[in-house]
Amino acid sequence: MKTDDLIAALAADATPRPGPGTRLNQCLSLSLLVSLVAVIALWRLRPDLADALASPVVLKTLLPAVLAVAALWLARGLSRPDAQARAQMALIAVLIGGVVIAFTVNLVNAGFDGLVAALNNQYLLVCFVSVPALAAVPLAASMWAMKSGAPANARLAGGAAGLLSGAAGAAVFSLHCPVDSLLFLLPAYGAAILVVVGVGAFLGPRVLRW
């Protein structure tokens, strides 16, 4: 087949199709709904959810949600072959930096024993299992959406999809989780999100290759 013939065949297939960004938005809202239904039906919401959301504890949900939105912006950027995504990276670095500083201040105040006491909690394991579980459908959905893109760096793009889904999973899980201690939340949620980032970075080169 000559190249001109191929061009004719390609041009005949000019039907408009949604780009990776649009697909990400659509898939994500649907898959988040699945996770929300799952946490309500299988995990149960914490009984005092209304009170918690009206207090500073709301940050437990809000912070992962903000991180998820920032990661969505990053994933949309990294789906393009000519992506730079510096602004997105900077925003996420600032968010994570802020969290680490808050954690360090609390750690200094409570001491190492305080950290051990906070983490010596049955919810640590629940958190490690639940966040990745609630992130699974969003991760699959965002990977599928990003497959229509052309990421310059598939591992990084997969990691961004993991961060996006992990943070979203943590935000959803926080509606169930009754533990509000900062010394518990930051390491437990942080590590659980990192697990999902790792899964995304592992899958990236395999799924997002083009």
Binding site: M1, K2, T3, D4, D5, L6, I7, A8, A9, L10, A11, A12, D13, A14, T15, P16, R17, P18, G19, P20, G21, S79, R80, P81, D82, S148, G149, A150, A152, W210
Partner: protein, 182 residues
């Protein structure tokens, strides 16, 4: 490369994204010599036919990934990024490692097709692998220059079904080419 009278590549691609086949064909015709120039500058050892195979790989990828270009961004950086990625990939699949920097692209001269354009080899092998109806559709529209409507009338399919089948066939072609070469 484009005079003020001609629409820019961005304009053509935006129109293509709205489904304008003529603008899309015009854009593909315009960028092919640029892609060919890059491939030939790097892959002389593959021979003209081998180079044309790589050019077709790149065109298929541009086609299937065109929605990852953001309409408010300049088109060239996107084109160069896709081309660089696919050319390196195509050469790797053919057992040759090359380094290619986007910075070199500006210096590469566009290469028009030769007077008697080469039949690229890979494409025919891959089309034979498709199911017969898909192969028929790709040949009718590509080689014979039929419209989707005519092809559909001949095969007893609606125009829409032909378009869907064509899109699926082009996706399979891209996948089969990867597998066949490796």
């Amino acid at each position: 490369m484009t005079s003020s009278a001609e629409p820019s590549w961005e304009d053509l691609m935006r129109a293509a994204n709205r489904g304008d086949q003529r603008c899309y064909a015009q854009l593909l015709q315009a960028i092919t010599p640029v892609v060919r120039g890059i491939v030939r500058a790097r892959g002389g050892a593959l021979g003209p036919e081998g180079c044309e195979d790589v050019v077709q790989d790149v065109l298929l990828t541009i086609h299937l990934k065109r929605q990852s270009w953001r309409e408010d961004a300049p088109f060239r950086p996107w084109l160069y990024a896709v081309t660089r990625h696919k050319v390196v990939d195509a050469f790797r699949a053919r057992g040759r490692r090359i380094d290619l920097s986007v910075d070199d692209f500006a210096e590469v001269l566009a290469a028009p097709a030769d007077p008697d354009p080469f039949e690229a080899q890979d494409m025919d092998r891959v089309i034979n692998e498709l199911d017969p109806r898909a192969a028929q559709i790709v040949r009718a529209i590509g080689i014979d220059g039929d419209s989707a409507a005519d092809t559909g009338a001949r095969l007893g399919m609606t125009e829409g079904a032909v378009r869907v089948a064509l899109h699926r066939a082009l996706k399979s072609i891209a996948q089969l080419r990867e597998r066949m070469i490796e």
